[in-house]
Amino acid sequence: MTGAEAAQVVLRLDRITKRFDALTANDAVSLDLRRGEVVALLGENGAGKTTLMNILFGQYTADEGRVEVMGRDLPPGNSRAALQAGVGMVHQHFTLADNMTVLENVTLGTEPLWRWRSDQSVARARLADLVRDFRLTVDPDARVGSLTVGERQRVEILKALYREARILILDEPTAVLTPQETVDLFATLRKAVAMGLSIMFISHKLHEVMDISDRIVVLRHGRVVAEMATADTDRHALAAAMVGSEISAPRVAPGNPGAALLRLSDVSTPDRGNAPGLKRVMLALRAGQITGLAGVSGNGQAALADLIGGLCVPESGRLDLDGQTRDRWSPRVAVEHGIARIPEDRHKTGTIADFTLTENAVLESYHKPPMSRNGWMNWGQAEAETQAIIRGYDVRCPGPDTRIRLLSGGNMQKLILGRVLEAAPRIILANQPVRGLDIGAVNYVHEQLLKARDRGAAVLLISEDLDEIMALSDVIHVMSQGRLSPEFARGSMTPTDLGVWMAGHGFDEGLAHAS
């Protein structure tokens, strides 16, 4: 965009720093957004994009730094002030009332709640103007619950525009859209920019960022690692900046691959809402080997983890354990067959927050001796086991009777590790095992996974952090839209190569790229 440099700065983030215990989510992040400009905020999950936006929107208070809108300081920790200053946010997960009409949703909160009758004609006319000006076609009297995802997003944008937002922040807006809806959205955004709005576009899809933005800011581990004009860069340079290229060779000694312990043949699972299911996935997990699964989140990794973890069954295709298909497939069967599962969300899925460490430690083993006999728990045994885990896995805690919600994420993860690794599993499913952990805990988790590999376990490591994948994996797959790439040998791919696969390219070209 010509003359962007001269244009007025409408939003300035100045050296924003936010720490969560030992984790620094944002490290002195500075960022300017000018009038009539689209700035893309690019970064992997966990890079600190969401934290930054939450600070801007008052959900969190920054430890250091300040936010300036239209040249004025924004009071910290105040969502309303951000709204009033003209900042509109379109969340990834919509904040709409399904049982109300589009018009009611758009005006909700702008009118007093208690009135004898509300005059909708003024609001209706304004909404019609916005729909026309921004080409956001949507029926004002339709109930939101009956709209498609793309239409709901339009309602979200209309909501922001109705509140006279001058700055639009879109958090992963295309994650839920079809390609055609994405084209329409971009048309709308270009209109908005032409009318003088400023847009912050958060994404990890490279081609979209290249398509829509004027400038690109790349976040990585909470820091701004690159800032460039879109015209001066290309997709490969962006991928390199996003995933980092400091580590290109594996850090650890290679494993000793053995037989395939678990094999998926042509497995498909149904899509779940906007999350793709698996699309004819072929995968073999070999003993003594870490298989890394890279990919942008929401591309079918959850479906794969659920399948191997016993929470769902293939719709078509086969899942073989030790060369045999299992008739019954459930979490308990998976555990009984030696699959250790480290879930993606240790707070919601991996542990029960109000249970003690002991109660959490026996979640997968309580139903059989020695933890229980004939339906009666042996709490003494359970506590002894927990003590062993606390010692063996260095869980820092007041004791086994502590409720696990009081532990830090790292210590919680160590307890989960202890729970699943004490049974000497043959297959380990580690889904984002170090997300949100501080560096010490990260190293600890990685050491444990390597140790398990070296004693012959087959490990599947699912991560969005390419560094982690490249450092630990013996072989790497990439997932995109539920499809699984061919197996890449360790060291055969650069981060940029993998980034291209992660962005969804290469699957069609097929094996030519892989070799």
Binding site: K348, T351, I352, L363, E364, R405
Partner: protein, 349 residues
């Protein structure tokens, strides 16, 4: 304003709000007593005296607490697994119905054999009544709050149908009332001459048994896990649906014991006013007890005491017995708020 969880509430934080809740309840009751033109101190004193001021009053309170302990346990067990059983009233009547059907001469046995069979049959009936909503929930996702609540009305009308028809006492002078159960089907008094039957002892035993189940059995562990975090329970391999069904069977059985105990211990026959809402009051009892089975006994005594005391107070000074309902409702609402405040801190934006 928003609520922020407190990681580790201190002693003051966890005791002060509940104490304040009870104190506020007393203040509200006093204000209402004054509004009714009575001396609040006299009213409160009379309630206390009426509930526990004499041997007779105390026994009356214990008798009244008996069905509340059972229904309170039924609700506490179900709520522990986040299975919202609002239908303890229907299950109570199912237990009473079974007691009357089998206890009016169908089984010509001695008391020692008959009473345990009646109790077990009653539990089975109550369990089956709750099994239907439980299956609807796990199979089709039907909200159990709606089904169990509506079942109360359906079941009471069903009882009414029976009492006007096949179960009607021919000697009942036209009242919708069943025949009386035989002498062998009556729960004896704990101490001869004192108006307190073995149902109360059974209730205490039930509370102990439920406590042991919750703390020591795998089922109790599963129930608590399912209640606290269904997703994590499912992930770990706990058969969530089976646990919900078992919980429903246990809960329904416990509520039915209230019906058994009221018929076999107190009333002797089945009428439509057998329960003045013991099933619903059980919810209050369970909530006041924070779902702890042993605390259910204390909460049931507290609630029964207020009811019995208010009856006696009302006769003495003419303040309506509704005061008891208001006191309980206030205590419940404030207690729920107090519990919230022990776990969360209010933060102003």
């Amino acid at each position: 304003m928003r609520l922020e969880p407190i990681a580790n509430p201190g002693f003051a934080r966890s005791t002060l709000p509940p104490v304040l809740a009870i104190a506020t309840t007393v203040v509200v009751a006093s204000a209402l007593a004054m509004l009714a033109g009575a001396n609040p101190f006299a009213v409160l004193g009379l309630i206390l005296k009426g509930a526990a001021g004499s041997k007779f009053a105390l026994l009356e309170t214990l008798n009244r607490a008996t069905p509340l302990i059972f229904t309170g346990l039924a609700v506490a067990v179900a709520f522990r697994a986040r299975f919202w059983n609002i239908g303890a009233e229907a299950q109570l009547y199912a237990g009473a119905l079974m007691t009357v059907v089998l206890g009016t001469g169908a089984l010509p046995w001695e008391a020692g054999a008959l009473l345990p069979v009646l109790a077990l049959a009653a539990m089975l009936a109550g369990a089956l009544v709750l099994l239907v909503p439980a299956i609807l929930k796990v199979r089709f996702g039907v909200d159990e709050v709606v089904t169990t609540l509506l079942f109360n009305f359906i079941f009471l009308l069903f009882i009414s149908l029976l009492l006007e028809g096949p179960l009607k006492d021919p000697m009942g002078m036209g009242w919708p009332k069943s025949e009386r159960v035989v002498a062998e089907a009556r729960l004896p008094r704990i101490v001869e001459g004192l108006r307190l039957h073995w149902g109360f002892a059974l209730a205490l035993i039930a509370a102990g048994v439920v406590w042991v189940i919750e703390r020591r059995s795998t089922l109790g562990y599963e129930m608590r896990a399912v209640g606290l975090n269904r997703e994590a329970a499912r992930f770990a391999g706990i058969p969530v649906n089976a646990v919900l069904i078992k919980t429903a069977l246990l809960s329904g059985g416990l509520a039915a014991l209230a019906g058994f105990s009221e018929v076999a211990g107190l009333k002797g026959s089945l009428t439509l006013d057998l329960s003045p809402g013991f099933g619903y009051t059980g919810i209050i009892v369970a909530m006041l007890a924070l779902l702890n089975p042993l605390a259910v006994v204390a909460a049931a005594l507290f609630v029964a005491g207020i009811f019995v005391g208010a009856d006696s107070m009302s006769r003495a000074v003419g303040v309506p017995t509704y005061l008891a309902d208001i006191m309980l409702a206030t205590a419940l609402l404030l207690m729920v708020l107090a519990i919230l405040l022990t776990r969360f801190r209010v933060v102003r934006e």
